[in-house]
């Protein structure tokens, strides 16, 4: 018999953790609907900060840019990442282990170091700051996630299916297109959503690589916070957190992330 008291205490602890994790986000969302500029209570419901937001062209521009960058990043990272995963899965060759280890630095090295290094290098080759540099950086950060997620899906793939298709006369392009890709499609979708999240939420690398006045949404929020809080930032932050959580929830459905199987 399990100690029910301890079990109950544990569940209470878990509840406390969930409260800790979500309370500030909920407070922020709540306050974005509050009429007072100084977050004063009593609460008075108002949509005025969202209306202000809709009229703020600087924020709208940054949001459009962020979504655009995230979409381009997703497209490139998903295609390159899927191709690499298929090669890493299907072939045995020398240096494979090394290539797998090479995926680690973009994830493990603090973004501060990666971001400043990119800034130096892109200036050195004459590209400088700007949206192209940001996209190059984001794709590099997203690639390892795509490869890891797609590879995890590929690991469940039965290679004899390919052999069966081949013995039935399918050429290798047909095998890839009609057998392999459909099987791993849920992994590819999950990888794409991860890539979108990595790019859309990325702050540090964007911060060093984007041009002042031409920045992504998180960078704009950071510079505005340093000038002082406004409920408008609250409103836009609430929208961002809803989008990024929604994207990850869908990704979780596709990748069995958090599942046991």
């Amino acid at each position: 018999m399990r100690g029910t008291f301890l079990a109950r205490l544990g569940k209470l602890w878990l509840a406390c953790i969930l409260f800790f994790l979500y309370a500030p986000i909920l407070v922020m969302a709540f306050m974005s609907f509050n009429a007072s500029q100084y977050y004063q209570l009593p609460f008075e419901f108002s949509l005025k900060w969202y209306e202000k937001l809709a009229g703020n062209s600087e924020i709208i521009d940054a949001a459009t840019r962020s979504v655009g960058i995230a979409l381009v990043t997703t497209l490139i990272a998903t295609i390159l990442g899927t191709a690499a995963s298929v090669a890493l899965f299907r072939f045995e060759f020398r240096g494979k282990r090394f290539l797998q280890i090479m995926l680690f630095p973009p994830i493990a090295i603090p973004w501060l170091i990666t971001g400043t290094a990119m800034l130096i290098f892109f200036f050195g080759v004459g590209l400088g700051r700007g949206t192209p540099s940001v996209i190059i950086g984001h794709v590099a950060l997203a690639l390892p996630y795509v490869i890891v997620v797609v590879s995890a899906r590929l690991a469940t793939f039965d290679a004899t299916l390919e052999e069966a298709a081949r013995s039935l006369g399918a050429d290798s392009w047909t095998v890839t297109r009609r057998v392999t890709l459909p099987w791993i499609s849920s992994g590819i979708i999950a990888g794409a959503l991860f890539a979108f999240a990595v790019s859309f939420d990325q702050f540090v690398v964007s911060y060093f690589l984007s041009e002042p006045g031409d920045s992504t949404l998180p960078v704009l929020i950071y510079t505005s916070i340093r000038k002082g809080f406004t409920p408008e930032i609250n409103a836009v932050s609430t929208i961002i957190i809803v989008i990024s959580m929604a994207v990850m929830l869908i990704a979780a459905r596709f990748s069995n992330f958090g599942g046991e199987r």
Binding site: I17, M28, A87, F91, M102, P106, P110, F123, G124, F229
Partner: protein, 287 residues
């Protein structure tokens, strides 16, 4: 499959792999090399500036104690945040992995992990609203407590620690959960049936078996915290000067890029050292 690859296979491997790895080379590995090169220059080699090779940027780190002190301050922050996150997160992961059963476990686990994948800047900002004087925490405590308290944690070290623990807690819960889930329940039952106390089971069975996951989580928190600059800036204000913020300043305010490069590289060396020490454990955690 034959040991030697056919030519067309080799071509296919190169075709499939090279786009991704060329991209990583251009965006990660060449920049890191460029930064290393830069850290030995006296000035940025753009335009008409005169520059020479020098080791002065590294000497600057050792000549004054400022940078070393800040690096130590950042490392200490990393240790504090890591220890708190592990102490808070491990029991939470245990409850998820071993106490809660069935369908609700999956949903709760997802709920715990979800914030980690949402925007970290926004989450730090949300703490600013909660912690500031006259903020929600202040008002809330005064509404509950019978006496007047003045809570203004904003722009203090505790605020930075709270924000960072909030940012990285899901990481340690994730790695501990995966490690704990892999422990066979029969093992725990066997220990219990042989008369082991709860504490003995925790100390002699559960902890040793979940140690790789726990350490992996610790490393994955420690490394980014040592390099953090956005969190101390927003939540720390004037006390928020850390090694990371000094590096940030070199690139966006002072424009001493070679010094910034040298400071970044010293940080990278520290990070790599930590990863190297932890890598046997991390490797075990992976499998």
């Amino acid at each position: 499959m034959s040991a030697r690859l056919a030519n067309h296979d080799r071509l296919r491997i190169v075709g499939l792999l090279s786009p991704a790895y060329l991209w990583l080379t251009v965006a990660i590995f060449l920049p890191l090399s460029a930064m290393f090169y830069f850290s030995f220059l006296s000035d940025v080699p753009f335009g008409n500036t005169e520059w020479t090779y020098t080791t002065e940027n590294y000497a600057a780190f050792f000549q004054t104690s400022t940078y070393a002190t800040l690096l130590w301050k950042s490392i200490r922050l990393g240790l504090i945040v890591t220890v708190i996150a592990v102490l808070v997160g491990f029991p939470c992961a245990y409850v998820l992995a071993k106490v809660i059963k069935g369908r609700s476990r999956e949903a709760l686990f997802l709920l715990v992990i979800l914030p980690f994948w949402s925007n970290s800047l926004v989450r730090i900002f949300s703490w600013a609203i909660v912690l500031r004087g006259n903020g929600v925490l202040d008002l809330g405590l005064n509404a509950i407590l019978p006496f007047e308290v003045d809570v203004n944690l904003m722009f203090s070290t505790p605020a930075i620690v709270i924000g960072l623990v909030h940012s990285y807690l899901p990481y340690v819960i994730l790695t501990c959960y995966l490690a704990l889930q892999a422990i066979d329940d029969n093992l725990i039952d066997a220990a219990r049936s042989m008369g082991a106390s709860k504490f003995t089971i925790l100390w002699r069975v559960i902890l040793p078996l979940s140690l790789p996951g726990l350490l992996a989580g610790a490393v994955l928190i420690f490394v980014p915290v040592v390099g953090s600059f956005m969190e101390p800036r927003i939540l720390g204000g004037r006390v928020g000067t850390y090694y990371g913020t000094v590096i940030e300043d070199q690139f966006v305010a002072v424009f001493n890029w070679p010094l910034g490069a040298a400071l970044s590289f010293i940080l990278l060396a520290v990070v790599l050292l930590i990863l190297a020490v932890a890598s046997p454990v991390l490797k075990r955690a992976q499998t």
